[in-house]
Point group: C2
Chain length 389, copies 2
């Protein structure tokens, strides 16, 4: 396995983008990534695309060759592969692209993530998101995605004394970060009181505990590290990549207060990189619900089990905290176009490590971590990245 670098990144705005089709989202993101480095279209050896369900959202399967076609590169006839893991689809595509380049099988790979969710009615979005839970044991019985995360939240509150205010602190922090990000879905700050007074969705989860589902696309260009400098003066090296999985239904889990998939993925990525959480200055983690960021901080080793709430509440995850968590605004504020999210995390880390963040810039960041999750922690993908210079 040879070293691999990300040399180009690109992203569309995230939000309810009525003027964008699926094709336009992926094309704009891909073109921005290609223009961000000196790669020619003809050099591309393979394309990996992450999306939860272009079939359900816009009636289009064969997503990956469609993307190549939309980008005007169908004449290359190269391998194009769509990977699915609900909300983790983006990082899974990044990981497959990374493994393809690392293996020596090919040299230049594009990893893209996309979702166009606003072409179907809201009730359909709820139904489709239910397909990321266990249909037979959860969704058919009426448990929605927020209801399942409410069970996880309650378990954490009961076991560790995590408070409603600590949950709100995640949203408040991420909106404070995202307010400065011109590509974010929501670009405004909110207060603890706003969260506490927002509409109840599934007790104790309120609407401002939840990330907005929307439209967006993001893309990265990956090449062998030894060739990276011919494409950019600021390549970012992928130091470690791990992916884990768990029981599909919550009922089968032994413990609701930790995501075993994240622990597995992080263990693999840290071992590969020879690093620990202490070495990370900036992290983009999956805060689809506020409880998810708290679990991620614990499962990734940024704090002890049960200490995620106090950690955020004390400002340790702020832009100038012990680790800057979700400087982009995270899923909560930057937005969560499902398949695009995992790639957007990588885009943000590359910019932070280059010192070219579009929103808040973390100072002197040299190592970044991304954690992207699907369903109730059923799949989790962790990447570590760093400056090679």
């Amino acid at each position: 396995m040879r070293p691999v670098a990300i040399v180009g990144v690109g992203q569309t705005p995230f939000g309810e983008l009525w003027e964008y089709s699926l094709r336009q989202l992926v094309t704009e993101a891909g073109m921005k990534a290609i223009l961000d480095c000196k790669v020619n279209g003809e050099e591309i050896d393979a394309l990996y695309v992450g999306a939860m369900s272009s079939g359900q959202f816009v009636d289009q399967e064969l997503l990956a060759p469609m993307v190549l076609d939309a980008a005007g590169l169908a004449d290359l006839h190269i391998p194009t592969t769509h990977v699915e893991g609900a909300g983790a689809s983006g990082a899974m595509a990044l990981r497959q692209a990374y493994l393809a380049v690392a293996s020596g099988n090919l040299d230049v790979a594009i990893a893209g993530g996309v979702e166009k969710t606003t072409d179907v009615p809201d009730r359909e979005v709820t139904r489709i998101l239910g397909a990321a839970s266990d249909q037979e044991w959860e969704a058919f019985l009426g448990a929605t995605d927020p209801a399942l995360h409410a069970l996880i939240t309650r378990a954490h509150m009961k076991r560790y004394g995590t408070t409603r205010e600590q949950l709100a602190a995640v949203s408040v922090k991420n909106h404070r970060h995202g307010a400065k990000n011109p590509e974010a879905h929501f670009q405004r700050e909110i207060t603890t009181e706003d969260v506490m007074r927002s509409k109840m969705v599934a007790d104790p989860i309120r609407v401002l505990d939840m990330a907005p589902i929307g439209d967006g696309g993001a893309a990265c260009v990956l090449v062998p590290l030894e060739r990276a400098e011919s494409y950019t003066s600021q390549p970012i090296r992928i130091l470690g990549s791990g992916q884990g999985s768990d029981y599909l239904s919550l009922a089968a889990r032994k413990d609701l207060t930790t995501f075993a998939a994240t622990r597995h993925a992080a263990g693999v990525a840290y071992r590969q990189a020879g690093l620990t959480a202490k070495d990370v200055q900036v992290a983009e983690v999956h805060d689809a619900f506020t409880i998810n960021e708290i679990l991620a901080l614990e499962d990734l080793g940024f704090c002890e089990p049960g200490q995620g709430g106090p950690f955020v509440d004390a400002g340790d995850a702020d832009i100038d905290g012990s680790v800057a968590v979700n400087p982009s605004g995270g899923l909560k504020s930057r937005g969560h176009p499902l398949g695009a999210t995992g790639i957007a995390q990588a885009v943000e880390l590359v910019r932070q490590l280059r010192g070219t963040a579009k929103g808040l810039q973390v100072k002197d960041a040299r190592v970044g971590l991304a954690c992207n999750t699907g369903g109730t922690g059923v799949i989790s993908v962790v990447h570590l990245m760093g400056v090679p210079w």
Copy 2:
């Protein structure tokens, strides 16, 4: 890239399997593959699953971790990845598993393919299959999958003089083979007259030119070749793997009488293996429509362009022909449960090369080829396999 072998294979019956759920299909196939060799569940390092759309057919995304969970192996927390490429999803999963083992990233990978299509009404199946064409430029305008393949058929007839009888010869041959296969969807012979008198679907395509969509699952176990003998006395080596792509809509193609994606995939696979079509004794190719087998024979180099019809009509693709094509019965007779098809082709080749075919056995086969296609040749995947002993 190190040599890789398939050491275990398993498959469910194919057909309208009202008594099987999606979970049962994948579990049975996976368990049969594991029991076919001496691999323990705990040794498995990764799982790749190919399916066109478990989201659209049974409202279930996060398909790959669901499969691991259904198999009772969720406690492993290993990487599980669902890949989608419409009808080519199965072979894409096999290729990702192959690349993962070949790269040295991991040792034991399972590649599975599955589709449960009979839980939705027939009209829904037609709509979902339309998602494998170009929604914006084909399906929304009323072009169905058979209509698009009718255009391809007409173009081939016009350019090369391919006849209706030659198309029928593909179905007749594949039903003759499949009639002996106890796992086939249709286990009966048909005549040229049956095909010619069958209901017209999209002129010149008749219902007996089309493979049946159904339910099924199939799985393979892959390990490094150097470790293969500890799992089985009859490992089959993967000699080459290629994947290609093409424009999504037919309107954008320069030529409807050849699939550029297949030519690209075959070129890569043959070069890797150091082989040509002349070295292949048995092939499983994608005959979703009769024209597809004819195109495959030409694009894979078994005959000259335009000669696919006469090749089949003369018996050259028979079980005792110059190359035995679709001894399993192919998609036409064995059946076409979308994501399962590409893996079922590999299962058949492994059995043929071992000399343990469940249906007709090709004599002295030492090299086999599988060609699995998605949509109108938008993705094509070619694998070459051989006996290492």
